[in-house]
């Protein structure tokens, strides 16, 4: 499997999901992610899996809930308005401790929005999205290769914690073709058998129930505390980020996903000018790399956050390092064109000198 392929990000995520053992996919067409159901509808039956083009995003997420409750690795994918429709089901999955992977190849802006690259759905993804005060795992790939790699990680993390996991991507990452090196999926040693899942082989007294309704005295409070205790463990053990030239950085640039690629080039250009600038790229948006920001901003370094929105992740950066100076530069969803590295470089120079 060392052959280098040239594929779209959307295809890569589909390939990674199937390699990770996903055998059930439920979805509904929406641009810019329709390559995912198209690829899976073609390839999954060959593996003995099941593909359903559902009547709605709502049905898709509930089919995912049903399949995951039965212990299968299953996935759905969509884009912003469709992800909004899925929020009811995501909330039920979170409340029912039902794993599963949801891909959001984000559109731009509220309502129908546009199909250009945007990071407009950060808040929806990391703050819970649906009702009830929960979190899901959120992973942000910045390349076609990471679309492939992170969807495998998403399945593993989701199964490990019984927390739904989302891949938050955008039209650039989804539609762009890049080199991809496939590799075999290897299940982590610590993944426990899904003894909670419904297998329809219950014996007397061994009934299995996947539910989110707890009416007994104190049961629901205990259940919610249990969910949040898992989030705390994830914060300890599962944070992932990329650090680029941060050790001597006097200005810490931070960005995720497609924006981080542009920022990385801008940081290189700044280094060529002798500026001590580095990049902190969160890979897990939830759990958020709070400790990394605290480490790299511990000596009074300024932080500059780039996003393809009007400022969302920057709020979490400021919460992580409340005493640090955190600047923001972004482009509103629907800008139609991406910022150039030179545009980011100008911002870096401005904040570096200030």
């Amino acid at each position: 499997m060392t052959k280098r392929l040239f594929v779209k990000g959307n295809e890569a995520i589909a390939m990674g999901a199937l390699e990770a053992g996903c055998r059930y996919y439920f979805g509904y067409p929406i641009t810019p992610q329709s390559d995912i159901p198209e690829y899976i509808s073609r390839e999954l039956p060959k593996l003995g899996g099941q593909f359903i083009q559902a009547e709605s995003e709502i049905a898709s997420i509930n089919m995912l809930l049903g399949a995951s409750s039965c212990g299968a690795r299953a996935m759905t994918s969509s884009s912003s308005p469709g992800i909004s429709l899925k929020q009811e089901g995501i909330s039920y999955m979170a409340g029912s401790e039902c794993p599963g992977v949801i891909v959001n190849v984000c559109r731009s802006g509220p309502g129908l929005g546009g199909i250009d690259a945007s990071q407009a759905d950060y808040f929806q993804a990391v703050k819970g999205g649906g009702h009830g005060g929960y979190h899901i795992i959120v992973l942000a790939p910045d390349s076609v290769q990471e679309m492939y790699d992170l969807v495998m990680l998403a399945f593993d993390m989701s199964d490990r914690y019984r927390v739904p996991a989302m891949i938050l991507a955008d039209a650039v990452i989804g539609q762009m073709k890049e080199g991809l090196t496939q590799h075999r999926y290897v299940a982590p040693d610590d993944l426990a058998p899904k003894d909670w899942a419904l297998i329809g082989e219950g014996k007397a007294g061994e009934q299995k129930v996947v539910k989110s309704l707890y009416l007994g005295d104190g049961e629901l409070e205990a259940h919610n505390n249990k969910l949040h205790a898992k989030y705390a463990v994830m914060q300890e053990k599962e944070v992932r980020f990329e650090a680029v030239e941060l050790d001597d950085a006097e200005l810490v640039v931070t960005a995720y996903g497609s924006t981080a690629r542009i920022a990385k080039t801008a940081v290189r250009l700044a280094r060529e000018q002798g500026l001590k600038v580095g990049l902190l790229r969160p890979i897990t948006l939830f759990p958020f790399p709070n400790a990394a920001y605290q480490k790299y901003a511990s000596n009074g370094q300024k932080v500059l956050c780039f996003e393809l929105n009007n400022g969302q992740m920057v709020d979490d950066v400021r919460l992580a390092i409340p005493r640090s100076e955190v600047a923001f530069y972004g482009r509103a969803p629907g800008a139609g064109s991406l910022p150039t590295p030179e545009e980011f470089l100008a911002q870096i120079c401005k904040h570096y000198e200030a």
């Binding site: 359903i52 559902a54 399949a67 409750s69 419904l198 009934q207």
Partner: protein
């Protein structure tokens, strides 16, 4: 003189030994029993997966000794679809009320039937939202007073009672669609047979099977259990005629 006592009636094996939370005169208990009897008949208790809906039927797992997934409101057919695709050899059924199945879950039930999913759907139609306190349901009868139709359902503004057994019978994926009642011993026997046939349809791989059961909600109808039972015969059956609307299992 010695008398040999013979047991002629007992709790179905598929039901737990639990007191239900249902109101006096509510017929969910009767319908639960018929579903349990069908599972006993086929000996499938240890294989069956139930999907609970939102409403009075949400506590399915408290009464049936089977594996259960609790679905969001109206989504039970989609959840059951996911479960059935993973476990095609296991019987899967949903148990839904009228608000759940015929209002908020209309898209899910129609498309699940239309895909011909090998599922059994038990639909308890009591013409009201029981759990939330007696609001107008999609099946509330013309003129029916509810907490949200205080002067009675006005079809000019509220629309008409929706006839699900007839509606689903028009879909090619539906193999069996029937409406029954449990207001008389005869009707209970017929309902039991229909539910058994709906499971048989699934076990035989014939297609989607749907059983609409007319049932009472004395509490929210503001009636005694006896009067509520009489309303089924006097008002509900004339609007929702009993019978087999589709049988493509032969």
């Amino acid at each position: 003189m010695t008398t040999e006592m013979k047991q002629v009636f007992s709790r179905p094996d598929s039901l737990k030994d639990a007191a239900t939370h249902f109101c006096p005169g509510c017929q969910h208990g009767t319908i639960h029993r018929l579903v349990a009897e069908a599972m006993d008949y086929f000996g499938i208790k240890d294989q069956t997966i139930g999907v609970a809906s939102v409403g009075c039927s949400v506590f399915l797992y408290g009464y049936f000794d089977i594996d259960v997934i609790e679905a969001p409101h109206g989504r039970a057919p989609a959840v059951a679809t996911g479960a059935k695709r993973v476990h095609p050899g296991r019987p899967v059924f949903t148990y839904q009320g009228d608000g759940d199945l015929a209002a908020i879950g209309t898209a899910e039930i129609i498309h699940t039937a239309n895909r011909g999913e090998l599922l059994t759907v038990i639909f308890a139609n009591n013409t009201t939202y029981g759990m939330t306190g007696g609001q107008m349901a999609p099946t509330s009868l013309p003129g029916q007073k509810t907490s949200t139709t205080p002067v009675g359902r006005n079809v000019a503004t509220d629309g008409y009672p929706i006839k699900m057994a007839e509606l689903l019978s028009g879909l090619d994926g539906t193999a069996y669609s029937v409406r029954v009642a449990v207001d008389t011993p005869k009707h209970v026997m017929q309902a039991g047979k229909a539910i058994r046939k709906a499971f048989q349809t699934q076990l035989d791989g014939k297609g989607f099977a749907f059983v609409e059961v007319l049932s009472t909600c004395p509490t929210n109808w503001g009636m005694s259990p006896v009067a509520a039972n009489q309303r089924v015969a006097d008002e509900m059956i004339p609007y929702f005629p009993l019978g087999v609307y589709k049988d493509a299992t032969a």
